[in-house]
Amino acid sequence: MTNAITLDAIGKAYQIGVRAPGEDGLAAAIRSTLTAPIRNLRRLSGAEVDSRTFWALRDISFEVPQGQVLGIVGRNGAGKSTLLKILSRITEPTEGRARVRGRIASLLEVGTGFHPELTGRENVYLNGAILGMSRAEIDAKYDQIVDFAEIEQFLETPVKRYSSGMFLRLAFAVAAFLEPEILVIDEVLAVGDAKFQKKCLGRMREVSRGDGRTVLFVSHNMATVQALCDRCVLLDKGTLKADGEPAEIIERYHDLAAGRASTVYDLSDRAGAWEFGTGAAMVTRVEIARARDGAPSAFFTSTDEIELRCTVSARERVDAFRVAVIVKRADGTPVGACFGPDACSLTERETGTFRVRLNDFALAAGTYCCELKVGKGNPNEGRTEFDAVDDVAHFEITPETAADGSAGYWEPAWGAVKFQAGATERIA
């Protein structure tokens, strides 16, 4: 079988600007202002030499046989999008060479070139042409596109009056009926409601399986990657880390991610420099683990129980204190809290580790962190806080995978807590 794509030592470097030297003093400031146009000219024209080079991709070589669906996975900043941009000819590689056999179309964004003032019908033609279709091809696909997007009655309405859902459906529909030999897709499936996502996924299967098209697919959603791809490559910090069966590569991806995310927070060097509380007892170490088997982890499903191990050092004797945990979203918004019983004790200069389990909750997929507090008392009789540590025990709730491979869908606007719905009964 011939190769649709051959990559040979592809690399892409970006220049990171460095701060202009000598910016102290008025004379220097004036000199700097006067010479700024010359410096800027050198910088903007790319002639600047003393800026640091950052390799977004380095020495990437692999081949993609015709008809293969290749998944490209990696953490943020691994170079996935840069690779797709090079193959799409949006940006030029700094070194190396790629050979692409056949027409290539890229979907790095849904609805590129849609104009809000134009109608749905006009945008189908415009977007189709931008994606590389000829007028005749769009004519031939037009009815299918409209049918897929389910917006027949709004075709003559400017898309600026569309709801975001309608807009995304139409935009995806145009892309879904592209028929290049090679299709490059970046995360575009993460659009629309659950029903439409499923439909998109189905269409993706048809496209990739149906007629021997080569597909390069980048996603953070491992369930989708597993469902769609024949083979995967794993990128990390711009280099090719692994290449093989999707299941194997996805496992390595998770390992890599878990290795990157810290499960242990050493806070001992804060000693004597606490910012909050009396300091009678201080948190010196926090560890996060899966409660089921006690394995340190920062990745959980929404129903996993989480265990926090909190090491506390007492400066003096402390009796009947408790450990409280406040769970926050990545942006710092509190999600909820739990308070252990006032049952912990330490004698003077003693260090102990206490386990707090977060049971019986369901968090939506996303990134979270914790604030831990140690203290005693209650609002009625007076409360004493010994210590508090914020922004520790970061963890990620990974999306659930439905049986059909689509991601469990949860809109950010629905908040972070998944309540269990009881029966809805008619009472009047």
């Binding site: 970006y14 000219l41 903007l44 024209s45 790319g46 941009k85 090079i86 193959l87 799409s88 000819r89 949006i90 940006t91 030029e92 590689p93 700094t94 070194e95 190396g96 060479r97 790629a98 050979r99 692409v100 056999r101 056949g102 027409r103 290539i104 890229s106 790095l108 964004e109 590129t112 070139g113 104009h115 003032e117 134009l118 006009e122 033609y125 415009l126 042409a129 931008i130 994606l131 590389g132 279709m133 000829s134 007028r135 299918q144 028929e179 030999e181 189905g202 299967r205 048809e206 496209v207 399986r209 149906g210 007629d211 021997g212 597993q226 469902a227 769609l228």
Partner: protein, 289 residues
């Protein structure tokens, strides 16, 4: 995986094309030629872009295409007034015809340069999210100006009718003059649109350039007022030859072929420089936009 394999293949797919073109992607150095084959393959896209730019230009305006007329008509009235008080000699040509005939090519050039210089920075997603022949983007903006030009041409015909200026045989010259005007405007548009992506200073330079060009082109005055000593400098500006010849073509006065030839030479040179600079900066568009 297995359920995917049992999925029925798409029935609507045409058989794959037998010959597949191979594309080599590698770093390029120096000056790059224009890939004409690619432009021809994507010609439908240029059509859609022109059509989009036309539809969008006057969307949600009350007057619509009326603006294409109003602007030159307004300036004609102003010039008429100013020209009359300054005692500018239009060589026997009725003043409204003289000014309006000069304003047609000038307005096309000024609007084309101003809109095209901003068109790439205003549509960065077309540079960073998809690949298309980027030369089409400024091209379509400028080509749409031809529609304004045609509409204003109808008004010119009406004004000529009112002043009983009969079109001479050499009116056919407006076609090659239009081609030259388009070519020069495209050259400046390519140059400025690409430079604006790299150097945002152009945002300040372009309006300044257009204003300066207005005074350096015989829009409000005939080039004859400069006499023979300095007139040739003015003729290096392609707009001088275009505007003067356009006036001559519609009013029947003799065409200054030397002046037009000089302007045409500079105009064609500008087009090549514009294309070359555009292609050179284009490689970096996605990285710097």
């Amino acid at each position: 995986m297995t359920q995917a394999a049992t999925q029925a293949p798409a029935t609507d797919a045409p058989p794959p094309a037998p010959e597949l073109r191979e594309l080599v992607i590698e770093p390029k150095r120096g000056w790059i030629g224009v890939d004409w084959g690619e432009l021809v393959r994507h010609r439908d896209l240029l059509g859609f872009l022109i059509w989009r730019d036309f539809k969008v230009r006057y969307k949600q305006t009350v007057l619509g295409l009326g603006w294409a007329i109003l602007q030159p008509v307004f300036f004609m009235l102003v010039f008429w007034l100013v020209g009359a008080s300054a005692g500018i000699d239009t060589g026997g040509v009725p003043k409204p015809v003289f000014y309006f005939a000069g304003l047609l090519p000038w307005t096309f050039f000024a609007v084309g340069v101003q809109l095209s210089s901003q068109c790439l920075v205003n549509q960065q997603h077309l540079l960073t999210k998809v690949y298309l022949p980027r030369l089409f983007i400024p091209t379509s903006v400028i080509v749409v100006g031809l529609i304004d030009l045609a509409v204003a041409g109808v008004i010119l015909a009406i004004i000529m009718g009112v002043y009983q200026v009969a079109p001479p045989a050499q009116i056919a010259m407006v076609v090659p003059l239009g081609v030259l005007l388009l070519g020069f405007t495209l050259g400046v548009g390519y140059l400025f649109s690409a430079l604006t992506v790299a150097y945002r200073d152009l945002r300040y330079i372009v309006p300044f350039f257009v204003q300066a060009m207005m005074f350096l082109s015989p829009v409000i005055y005939p080039v004859s007022i400069f006499g023979d000593t300095w007139g040739w400098v003015l003729k290096l500006n392609p707009m001088t030859g275009i505007i003067e010849s356009f006036r001559a073509a519609v009013t029947g006065t003799p065409i200054d072929w030397t002046g037009l030839g000089m302007g045409a030479g500079v105009g064609v040179l500008t087009l090549f420089v514009g294309l070359a600079v555009f292609r050179r900066i284009e490689r970096r568009f996605a990285d710097i936009a």
